[in-house]
Subunit: 365 residues, 2 copies
């Protein structure tokens, strides 16, 4: 097992191991966060793992109840939070209870937010079940839901008491979800670790075959990098925003595609665009986009913008992005792999030029 | 002007003065919490003070916008929070903006909660306009909304950056609201200050005539006591619960009356019941309820349970109260004025006996 200690307002540990799910109950018992647990899960994950977890908890004498919401991004709203809260109240969950977020990114965001506001806050732990959630959303304490006006507009910073990462569950999910998470791992390499970048280059096919030791390594490194950044900037004052590498244009593509392209896929394209922008602006010290594109292709990730997306629509979403700070559009760019810089307001024409140059029929070619 | 420093996760100051409202803009400008302010207010208070505040802010060059919700306890729900948030997003409020809660307890709870979750938290200040809010809900950082299943079930602990208490605005509100707040002041005397209790006895009629220096004194003392308790127990671990004196039965009466009796009035009756319970259990060192009842009567507050309320209904709400911790009903009782004690599970029969003995046609007699 690998462990990472995250130094936030209350410090907590991330545990990483294949098959960890079966060890959760004994550890939870030792942590003693509550006398009863609310397992929050979506309709897909609860089918696969919810019943198992409840049974495992029972075996060590921990009481729990499963609260399920409809799977999908569309459930990430206040209505879901209120429905879950009401069900918990009716089931008698009080302040001495705790919550378990079991699932992907949406579940982590919704359940973490619910834990942060339920009776003004109860303890919770995360059991992320997708690679994306394991390397990204389960670290950092960001919780939240969407409004019709935009994503993640209501939420809290609320750190979990423990994060349990069992990469053994990844093989039970669609292959696309593995690649979706790998895009974020590439991001960590780009912003903080040439070694991780190189490891991905050398182990791409092992990873795509769910090789346990390769997965453990990249999850550990990703969480370590994110935890380090978050420890130094818990409330997103500045530094933490380097985590947005690839996300500025990535989010705009995601929105322009009505969220029908996976998040990691959009980030993948966004990273290529950011690398090219770094080159065009003369920030990059050498050719950046070639090795980046090669790695992303190796991992089966898209590197081009699908032609059917309207560039004007992408630009409109770009400006509406939350990263517009007092009217300024801030990109995270790279001097080289492992060396990020903030860049304010690149010329519109240049952004358009890069978007145009990336549009093709086949985003993966 | 009087000032109190509250030592919570981020320390903040409570400023107390008649006419303080006109000094808010300059102080806010110096605090520099945001480049634009969202004033959250209900339909009553926005009519009385909202436009004035907006104009005063403009005079010193601060941009603001007024967001109004329907006055009344029924608005204290997630729907109101979401509507206000959506309006703020559409009006372009970003993370560099701040929020002003202008109004009574409901406004403070709703606006404070909104500030705590809007874009994962923006700074806010409180301008409480009722005596109850001035001495109670504006200190301590409790925010929240109700669910159909119960009150304050969703919320956060989120401290304001400043609290402005202008007791000059109290005379613009109905007289009942003054008495409503005085009940909470009596509570502070009971749990922490025989001097405050005595001051109330000696200045009852001055207070009921809105005497400025008497109001300033009791507001200062109440906030000082609450701030002291909150500083020592920000997240309601234990000590803070002494603030529930009179509230255990008070809440049950409030609920049994479908919230048609003012909160402070219910607390007044609840304090009498708690004093009698302290006597019956042999905790009180001497006759407690006689001076307490006399003071409450002097202040025009009810001391008896209205006969039309069903005792069985009160008892049912009592057991459903949030203060039931893992099945235990905890009362705050008194050894004497200024000396509170926690008491677990007083005999049911005794509670019933006290409820019965307090029921009359005229709650004020």
């Amino acid at each position: 097992m690998r462990q990472i200690k995250v130094e936030t307002s209350h410090p907590y540990e991330i545990l990483i191991e294949g098959g960890l799910l079966t060890e959760v109950p004994e550890d939870l018992k030792a942590l003693s966060l509550g006398y009863r647990y609310a397992i929050i899960s979506d309709s897909n994950v609860s089918e696969l793992l919810g019943g198992d977890l409840k049974r495992l908890l029972e075996e060590v004498g921990l009481k729990s109840e499963l609260f399920v919401f409809q799977a999908g991004e569309a459930s990430k709203n206040m209505d879901t939070v209120v429905k879950l809260a009401r069900a918990m109240v009716r089931a008698g969950f009080d302040r001495k209870c705790a919550l378990i977020a079991l699932g992907g990114g949406v579940t982590g965001d919704v359940a973490g937010f619910l834990a942060s506001i339920y009776l003004r806050g109860i303890p919770y732990v995360q059991i992320p079940t997708t690679l994306l959630a394991q390397v990204d959303s389960s670290v950092g304490g960001k919780t939240g839901v969407d409004l019709p006006e935009g994503k993640n507009l209501l939420g809290t910073f609320y750190q979990p008491w423990r994060v349990y990462i069992d990469y053994g569950v990844l093989a039970t999910l669609p292959f696309e979800h593995l690649k979706n998470g790998l895009a974020e791992v590439v991001k960590y390499g780009c912003i903080a670790s040439p070694e991780l970048f190189q490891f991905l280059e050398e182990n791409a096919s092992a990873l795509l075959n769910y090789d346990a030791s390769a997965l453990e390594h990249i999850i550990f490194e990703s969480c370590r990098i994110k935890a380090d950044i978050v420890s130094r900037d818990e409330k997103e004052g500045g530094l933490r925003r380097i985590l947005n590498f690839g996300h500025t244009l990535g989010h705009a593509i995601e929105a322009a595609a009505n969220y029908e392209i996976l998040h990691g896929f959009c980030v993948s394209i966004g990273m290529v665009a950011a690398a090219r922008l770094s080159e065009e602006l003369g920030l990059a010290q050498r050719d950046l986009s070639t090795p980046l594109e090669a790695l992303l292709r190796k991992l089966g990730l898209p590197v081009r913008i699908p032609k059917e997306l309207d560039p004007a629509k992408i630009e409109a979403h770009l400006r509406a992005d939350k990263k517009v700070w007092r009217g300024k559009l801030v990109f995270v760019l790279l001097k080289e792999i492992g060396a990020p810089v903030f860049y304010e307001e690149p010329p519109k024409e240049l952004i358009r030029k890069i978007i145009d140059s990336l549009r093709t029929e086949d985003a993966f070619s």
